[in-house]
């Protein structure tokens, strides 16, 4: 049994649905082939199983502790990360000159998926570092790249993202941290940052905080936010790590899940000010952060997918081995009990998990593939089209997996019954870990507003139309394929309904009633999510149907037939859920908006 991801499914997604091998036609990836992709994924899986999975429960039970001076955590976390760095994962997608192997983002994300599925909280440290490194590589100057980026790629420095403050989470325009110029390109920062993942630890020589703050002359709101590098220790011109900077850990937050990842309230400038360096130009900090937001949000969706996937595989194996009860037609009480996988309701719970996790994996890897295309294409027009498509898919790729793969974790617990509710089994921990994903990187409420209020509407709905054209193309390809007809028909109907709803809500907003138009942005996100995941299932079903027609290899028939069965389930049981959301949206329901506060 595969424990993190079904490797057959991963290969199906990467090579049969996404044709990842075609990436090697881009000059940057010319040295690669399926052999190197598979070798890297094999190494990731080994490392994830050998070094990450074994301490996931222990890190959850023994969360990091702060003694007032420094943070203590179980040694296995550091050992796993040393092995991760030594194997070259921190720099995998960078050029060979930077110590990387120019790995496509699609494959790097497939590896990331394996690590997160094995142990999300240990994996968070390198993920934050990679995100911070990606930002510095685009927006940092040459000096900053050599003093901070290079050691991060070597795994000597780790990174963080310091956006949130105690009073400003969703609304970053309200942050209060201030930066005063002190000459020579340096600034003194003062303020408190809340929720900072990986904000303090002893895992690396120092920690590179990327901090959003306001300059003295900053205009109010989001147009007045600048980005600073503020290291935990001073780093001199030659890159030497020196004395502590004025960044203090005020305390660790005690969380529901992700407990191996330190989560910190950090005080910048309790004494004379934390010394920082400006990244890029003043007042552009938030746009730099958003630059890497697509990648980061798709990454959150992929992480959520993998926690769901691990729970699915665990509950599937359990269901095959747990004897309990008899079939409805088995009247003899002395007959041996069946494995619970034979019960219709257990099969339903397994099927629901399957369509959620495999559908979400298809979407998040599809987005990673689009990111590769966007970054490699020479054609400016093609790039602009890819940017548009990614813009509209991103809130869905973040929110849908974080809602539905969390629901998969709930179902995994249910499959295990009482055992699932205990800490002797991993499924309750997976649920707790996954419960973060609808909250961070922009709550799903914010994603709904982003999708309906911005992405679906801007440029006369250009991105929305581009997405619909993609879906139409798949529907057209499915026209004559009998095996996928139920899903094709259901999806065609839903997509038309979604387009009408989008146009209707757009008219409502343009007519001035923005409040009503946005009142149900979360049901809108949900409906669009099911539309897009339905599309992902149709794409998979088409590949499976073609493979079955061509005559599959010996062990593959059940796999492909499983894909077709899942697509039928999606058509029969999931599309109707989106129809329910559509009905809400068509009704322009304002009851929650209109109720008086006192009425709650």
């Amino acid at each position: 049994m595969d424990r993190i991801v079904n490797r057959r499914d991963l290969a199906f997604q990467l090579y049969e649905v996404l044709d990842a091998e075609a990436l090697t036609s881009y000059p940057r990836f010319a040295d690669h082939g399926r052999d190197t992709f598979d070798a890297v994924i094999d190494t990731a899986e080994r490392l994830a199983l050998d070094k990450f999975a074994p301490h996931a429960a222990k890190a959850d039970a023994e969360e990091p502790r702060f003694d007032g001076q420094r943070v203590h955590m179980i040694p296995e976390i550091g050992q796993a990360l040393d092995a991760y760095v030594a194997a070259g994962f921190m720099a995998a997608h960078r050029d060979e000159a930077d110590g990387g192997m120019a790995l496509p983002w699609t494959i790097a994300q497939a590896c990331a998926a394996l690590f997160t599925g094995a142990n999300a909280s240990t994996t968070a440290y390198p993920f934050l570092t990679i995100a911070a490194a990606n930002l510095l590589s685009v927006h940092g100057n040459r000096d900053q790249r050599s003093r901070y980026l290079q050691p991060m790629l070597e795994g000597r420095f780790f990174g963080t993202m310091c956006l949130s403050e105690p009073q400003a989470g969703s609304s970053l325009g309200d942050i209060r941290t201030r930066a005063e110029p002190m000459g020579a390109g340096r600034y003194r920062l003062k303020g408190a940052k809340m929720w900072i993942s990986g904000g303090d630890h002893e895992l690396s020589e120092t920690i590179v905080h990327l901090v959003l703050a306001r300059l003295p002359d900053a205009p109010p709101g989001v147009k007045g936010i600048s980005l600073f590098i503020v290291p935990k220790h001073h780093v001199d011109d030659a890159g030497q790590v020196g004395a502590r900077n004025d960044v203090a850990l005020a305390g660790l937050n005690h969380k529901m899940g992700y407990r191996g990842t330190t989560n910190c309230l950090l005080n910048f400038g309790e004494r004379d000010g934390a010394v920082g360096e400006l990244v890029g130009e003043p007042h552009k900090g938030l746009s730099y952060m958003f630059h890497m937001m697509n990648e980061a949000r798709v990454g959150v969706g992929l992480g959520a997918t993998m926690m769901g996937y691990a729970g699915y595989l665990y509950s599937l194996d359990y269901a095959r081995n747990r004897p309990q009860g008899r079939r409805p037609d088995q009247k003899d009480p002395a007959s041996p009990p069946v494995a619970i996988i034979e019960h219709a309701d257990v099969r339903r719970m397994l099927m629901q998990q399957k369509v959620y996790v495999e559908g979400a994996l298809a979407l998040t890897l599809h987005c990673a593939r689009l990111i590769d295309q966007r970054d490699q294409t020479e054609d400016a027009e093609a790039r602009a089209a890819l940017v548009r498509l990614l813009d509209i898919l991103t809130p869905i790729a973040k929110a849908w997996p974080s809602e539905y793969c969390l629901d998969a974790n709930r179902l995994a617990i249910q499959v295990l019954g009482g055992y699932g509710y205990t800490r002797d089994y991993p499924v309750e921990r997976l649920y707790r870990d996954n419960r973060l994903n609808p909250i961070h990187e922009g709550t799903n409420g914010i994603q709904g507003l982003d999708l309906l209020g911005r992405k679906a509407m801007i440029d006369g709905g250009a991105a929305f139309k581009a997405l619909m054209a993609e879906i139409e193309a798949t529907l057209a390809a499915a026209e004559a394929v009998h095996a996928v007809a139920p899903l094709r028909n259901a999806l065609a109907r839903l997509a038309r309904r979604a387009a009408l709803i989008t146009a209707d809500l757009g008219r409502l907003a343009a007519g001035g009633d923005v409040a009503t138009a946005l009142a149900n942005s979360t049901p809108y996100l949900d409906m669009m999510g099911h539309t897009v995941i339905g599309w992902m299932w149709l794409r998979q079903a088409l590949v499976a149907a073609a493979a079955l027609d061509a005559g599959p290899a010996a062990g593959d028939r059940a796999f492909y037939e499983g894909k077709l069965a899942a697509a039928r389930f999606f058509a029969a049981q999931e599309i109707p859920r989106a129809d329910a959301q559509a009905a809400i949206l068509e009704s322009h329901d304002r009851s929650a908006l209109d109720i008086d506060d006192a009425g709650f």
Binding site: A39, V40, T43, F89, G100
Partner: protein, 248 residues
Amino acid sequence: MKVLVPVKRVVDYNVKVRVKADNSGVELANVKMSMNPFDEIAVEEAVRLKEAGTATEVVVVSIGPKQAQETIRTGLAMGGDRGILVEYDAETEPLAVAKLLKAIAAEENPDLVVLGKQAIDDDCSQTGQMLAQLLGWSQGTFASKVTPGDGTVDVTREIDGGLETIQLKMPAVVTADLRLNEPRYASLPNIMKAKKKEIAMKTPADYGVDMTPRLSTERVEEPPERQAGVMVESVSDLVAALKEKGAL
């Protein structure tokens, strides 16, 4: 000093193997395959000898299907210099493999052949011993420590009740046990470098070796299901229970 490391492609150690429906063997379709773990230890030891400046070249050899190239690549990504694949699709038996390795040793003239003490698919633990016999070389089996000297190699062996250190004259055959070392992961930059290393493609006919199996498999079955245990209160209860079962 040249080191030859034979490696076998086997069902991955994480895979729970299933018996085929017709009881003719174990299910191999869609099953993850990887390098025999003891062979990984052998590769690691050879690479360490190279890193220490003792070995000058590490040649990784496999006998198996075309896909065994991937297994050799893993060895090359761990630090091997070049590979040889003797392509053979059917099941291999230790004697035929030992004969092929003997022929390869005659061409390559290695000072040391390091291989796993056994392969985790058939668990034979015979290839190294047969090879040493066929070559007329000394052998150090079940090694937990390997220290080359001048024309000799000291091998610490895991034996019943302890450790034994023997000195072998080179050329010699050494088989690796679990505690010899902890093999490294094929790092990403080295996976790229391995892609450019050479793998020579051969067939058994090139070495004039007859691969016809000497053994035939009658039937493969799952081990009998384990019966539930009972908890006993004390040692005397345990002794009584064992006597009752006829075990004492």
